[in-house]
Symmetry: C2
Subunit: 218 residues, 2 copies
């Protein structure tokens, strides 16, 4: 019975903002505040209050109260539930060079529902080592081990030349979602979700905004 509605009808844009709300709410919770208004959230995050209300109404179970706003703890619980922060998804990491090492060492992913259970690398010098408690296995074992562990999420942090190969192996192992940090477009079957962490795109947007700002001043 019935939380299908939730998956639908919530726009990607909204989903993308939820983690920011979540962080803000955690701050408020830590500060001991019981309720928070859409106006306050909006001001802090540079959004409009209407948008905040709309986003929250899409995923919150309890309504906000006039004059008081929303209950902080309830909202956090709602976002946790909606984004699945309260039940961990296993993932594997491919590539433990500079970026991969950083990702493996970042303990925060657990709070976001992501649990890295194994890492892989082609470099023999790295195999057998451990980073942040995650063991590094040889690349050859990727597909086999992924299948055995029944992991559905793969994180690609290899140099761009190796990225497509890594993706192929992940798919072969039965992964259904790939978080790609390599600056290349991956070719995968249609029923596999790919999210490119495209830093070049972020940078492009940032530098255009910078250009605008400088332009408005002169």
């Amino acid at each position: 019975m019935g939380n299908e509605k939730e998956l639908l009808n919530v726009s990607k844009a909204t989903i993308g903002r939820l983690p920011a709300y979540h962080r803000y709410l955690q701050e408020k919770l830590a500060a001991g505040e019981k309720t928070v208004s859409s106006t306050a959230i909006a001001e802090e995050l540079h959004l409009s209050a209407v948008q905040v209300r709309k986003d929250l109404s899409a995923i919150a179970r309890e309504a906000g109260k006039p004059k008081l706003g929303f209950t902080v703890a309830d909202l956090i619980a709602d976002i946790d539930r909606f984004l699945g922060y309260d039940n961990l998804n296993d993932a594997v990491l491919v590539g433990v060079g500079g970026l991969g090492k950083a990702l493996a060492g970042y303990s925060g992913f657990k709070h976001y529902g992501l649990n890295i259970v194994a890492a892989f690398d082609a470099d023999p010098a790295r195999i057998g080592t451990s980073i942040g408690g995650i063991k590094v296995f040889p690349a050859e074992e990727l597909a086999r081990l992924v299948r055995r562990l029944n992991v559905l999420i793969g994180i690609i942090a290899v140099p761009k030349e190796a990225a497509q190969g890594a993706a192929d192996e992940l798919v072969k192992g039965g992964v259904r979602a790939i978080w790609n940090f390599a600056p290349v477009h991956l070719n995968v079957p249609a029923n596999i979700a790919v999210k490119n962490e495209d830093m070049a795109a972020s940078l492009a947007i940032l530098s255009k905004r910078l250009a605008e700002i400088l332009n408005n001043e002169k």
Copy 2:
């Protein structure tokens, strides 16, 4: 005279896609192909051909030719010019822990017009070292050095507790754009551009897509 039009009228969504086009075009160039059609680009990148044409028409100087498509080399040049890939912007990096080290060591930023000229860290053990040719200075010198070097872009890769402080120092030093990798919302004056590299948001979107895919199957 006259490239003001370019800054305006190009949507953020379009700008965000340009780096992907750029990468695809580089591949085609390397493969020796002279021209490429919007259909081909669209298919590879899982977009619609109309959208590709619209995006390109917003920034390209030459029109595409019926039956042939666009000239690969021209398009690359157009994107280079539009995104500023051909003239480097200086930047400083704050924080050379795991992620900061990875960013400093990534040589690819130069291709995206970003030149990291100095790094800063609070940990004495790191000061004076060099990562990827970038020297690490003490955090206390941040504002002063940024001002002296006349750097306009700051990259924050410190733990979240230190991020707001880093932002404050960057702003004090005269930075006008901040690329924030720490998972916190930064409070800065209105005339400073902030781009949050929000991995939690990416992850949220990815896992929702995964959930959808799995849902559609059963």
